[in-house]
């Protein structure tokens, strides 16, 4: 045991550390050894007579058995703990795999249903167009419908425009992808409000049609956040967000850059490293938006009478 130099005060922490570092073997061993030595010294003078109590070989044999038993216990404890830890890790991996599988299946199902919906909508539209084209009043309705659909952003459009890219701040080159600082990473993440600001600035700059990552924005399309993911029309989109706007590229760019929203996003870039880029494009292809649910319908009156009052709709599913 190291002793403090005389006259030098030791702090409590230092002496505690000294004790922990020096007293690695249980002092009871030394005591037991001393006691044994004392017993031996007492019984030594008469070597011929048997020692009192049980003979020493029984005591030794019993001690060995106990030690073996204790070691067996230690081995059991270690192996059981190892098994527990291993099975825990395995269980977590299994659960994670199952969840991944679920996500994949869910995504596939959504894709299937979306494709099916698209196909059925096309079929309905075709049938409707055929039915309407048969009569004069139907053709007039068809024209009105085409205008309405164009204004409701249901039809794909193409033309020159502006392409704005917003993206999460790229990870610093030396940052740890797993243990990196959450705080820093969070600050550089694009929020739904940032995307909303850019979209609003584009609309106010005279954009005729806007899409985010090939999701066309219709009159009722919401850009919002749900649990860290940005949803456009209830479909998740991920960074980088490519916001395409159709309009005259020159005016669109000039007006967009002078909006307060654009300088807000530029500030985000300066402060948090958010990616913000824009480019004029000569030819942009924007898909059609998903149409709103059909909530109200009325039969077309062939006689040309003013149509009856709106019938409360029967196709709404819980609207």
């Amino acid at each position: 045991m190291t002793r403090a130099a005389p006259g030098r005060p030791r702090s409590l922490g230092a002496s505690l550390l000294d004790q922990v570092l020096a007293e690695t073997v249980d002092p009871a061993y030394a005591q037991a050894a001393a006691a044994r030595a004392a017993r031996a010294a007492v019984s030594a003078p008469e070597p011929g007579s048997p020692p009192p109590g049980r003979p020493s070989w029984i005591r030794r044999r019993r001690g060995q058995g106990l030690v073996a038993l204790t070691f067996a216990l230690a081995g059991l404890l270690a192996s059981v703990t190892y098994e527990e830890a291993a099975s825990g890790a395995q269980g977590r991996e299994e659960v994670r795999d199952a969840l991944r599988q679920d996500i994949r299946q869910g995504t596939d199902r959504v894709d299937d249903l979306s494709a099916q919906l698209e196909q059925l909508t096309a079929e309905v539209n075709r049938t409707r167009d055929e039915a309407l084209a048969a009569s004069a009043i139907g053709q007039r309705a068809l024209e009105q419908l085409a205008t309405a659909e164009r204004e409701a952003a249901l039809l794909p459009v193409s033309g020159p425009g502006l392409e704005v890219t917003l993206g999460n701040a790229p990870a610093a080159a030396d940052s740890d992808p797993i243990g990196g600082s959450e705080e820093v990473a969070q600050a550089g993440v694009v929020q739904d409000s940032d995307v909303q600001q850019v979209v609003n600035a584009l609309w106010s700059s005279g954009a005729e049609a806007v899409s985010i990552n090939d999701q066309r924005l219709g009159p009722t399309t919401a850009v919002r956040q749900a649990g860290g993911a940005i949803l456009v029309d209830f479909q998740p989109v991920s960074s980088p967000y490519e916001i395409r706007a159709i309009g005259d590229p020159g005016t669109l760019a000039n007006r967009f850059l002078s909006t307060p929203e654009a300088s807000f996003v530029a500030d985000l870039t300066r402060l948090y490293g958010v990616v913000f880029d824009f480019a004029r494009a000569d030819e942009l292809q924007l898909p059609g938006a998903t149409g709103p649910e059909l909530r109200n319908a009325q039969p077309l009156d062939p006689a040309g009478d003013p149509p009856a009052a709106d019938t409360p709709d029967s196709t709404t599913d819980g609207g």
Binding site: T24, Y29, G63, V67, T70, A74, L76, S79, E83
Partner: protein, 110 residues
């Protein structure tokens, strides 16, 4: 020789039987293993020092395991379980290292 055999038997028993540990006991198993390791290393060192005593070894083993688990249990009840486990692991870890170094000196004279 017999203790090593006992250790092997224990390990094999644990792996073969694979006893299910009650859920409330599971958090204390790792700390109990560290405490057991400390007692085992202390025993081996005492053996090399020539002062080994079976009774002391058995008692220190059992009390080490129980006390370590108990401290962590108490800490869990008080809301400082993680910190107390760290404390136990640090202290026992230092002791294991010291004993391992002493054993090494005995074995290799270095």
């Amino acid at each position: 020789m017999i203790p090593i055999l006992g250790l092997a038997v224990g390990v094999v028993l644990g792996l073969v039987l694979d006893p299910s540990v009650p859920l409330w006991l599971q958090p204390y198993l790792p700390i109990a293993v560290v405490a057991a390791l400390d007692a085992v290393f202390g025993g081996i060192r005492a053996r090399f020092d020539g002062i080994f005593d079976a009774k002391v070894f058995v008692v220190s083993f059992v009390s080490n395991v129980v006390v370590a688990a108990l401290i962590v249990f108490l800490g869990d009840q008080l809301g400082v379980g993680a910190q107390l486990s760290t404390a136990v692991v640090v202290v026992l870890g230092i002791r294991i290292f010291g004993n391992a170094a002493a054993i090494r000196r005995h074995l290799f004279r270095a």
